[in-house]
Symmetry: C2
Subunit: 143 residues, 2 copies
DNA sequence: AAGGCAGTATAGCACAGGCTATATTCCGCG
DNA sequence: CGCGGAATATAGCCTGTGCTATACTGCCTT
């Protein structure tokens, strides 16, 4: 018997995984942005988050609520939003991954502006293994 | 004045674009799969679509309904699902892009299985420009 | 100290995309 | 022929992510 047991995921698993990544994509972008705002302005206000994300203010408020539920952020009503340790760690990982994805795209010939645009979506589907491959490729390139 | 007018999209635009791509991702995967099923089995039944997508049958039925509304598919109740001309054209573009994304990932050192997994999500965020760059890169590589 | 405005939260709506449970239809077989 | 099981559709639920309209707070300014 060829034994494909527990080896190659099938098509359905692949789709399920993509759906899962999509579900966390928004949270990743939010924590990254909140981290940016805190670094830039010292605080992350809901209005600024909404503006930078391109959504209405109540939408940002609601998503921040989800971040709180997931243990990624805290917020005092009518005050700013803060990242938990887990949130800050995620933000840093996401930011680094974003940069690597952009760099990889540019390295294979994608124009900078396009790389920035496409990376915003692509990044969330780049696994640890793929990220490692990207980094290795970039290192070789530069050598 | 540096004049950034109508040139670089800002952060909010970038996020909006990623959200838009995400909204059509599911439709793309469905039409590609329906095309595959028709090619393989001569017809695309809702049960097979559901099974291959890894969702429950009513979920597939509902999404097929959306494909119909968007002019990508037709379906006769209790019979199979068919692609419109637009749907078939989209399926072909999506299938080709999928293959190119997998090939690019492998070309930069991503293991095949990982490439297949990640490509399922990445593909939907690869713009025409990025796709063209990928193709050019692959062509050079092989030369 | 108080008022007003800006910022935030809440209410309530729509739609996508999951699900289970159930109704309906089709079709092959006895 | 007609019946029963398989396939499909429908009903009804939940959550997420958007929106607008409106209520509430906090704080700056007079
Ligand atoms: Mn992103
Ligand atoms: Mn990003
Ligand atoms: Mn896909
Ligand atoms: Mn695909």
């Amino acid at each position: 018997m060829p034994d494909r047991t527990a080896s190659a995921p099938n098509e359905a698993d692949r789709f399920a995984r993509a759906r899962e990544k999509q579900a966390v994509a928004l949270l990743e972008d939010y924590v990254e942005l909140i981290g940016d705002l805190i670094a830039e302005a010292g605080e992350a206000r809901v209005a600024d988050i909404a503006h930078r994300m391109g959504v209405a203010q109540p939408t940002a408020t609601k998503t921040v609520g989800r971040l709180k539920r997931e243990g990624l952020a805290t917020a005092r009503p009518y005050r700013g939003v803060f990242l938990t340790e887990a949130g800050a760690a995620l933000a840093n990982r996401v930011r680094a991954r974003h940069r690597t994805v952009v760099a990889l795209l540019k390295a294979v010939g994608v124009p900078e502006a396009t790389a920035e645009l496409d990376a915003e979506g692509i990044e969330h589907h780049v696994s640890e293994k793929t990220l490692a491959a990207f980094e290795a490729f970039l290192k070789d390139r530069q050598a």
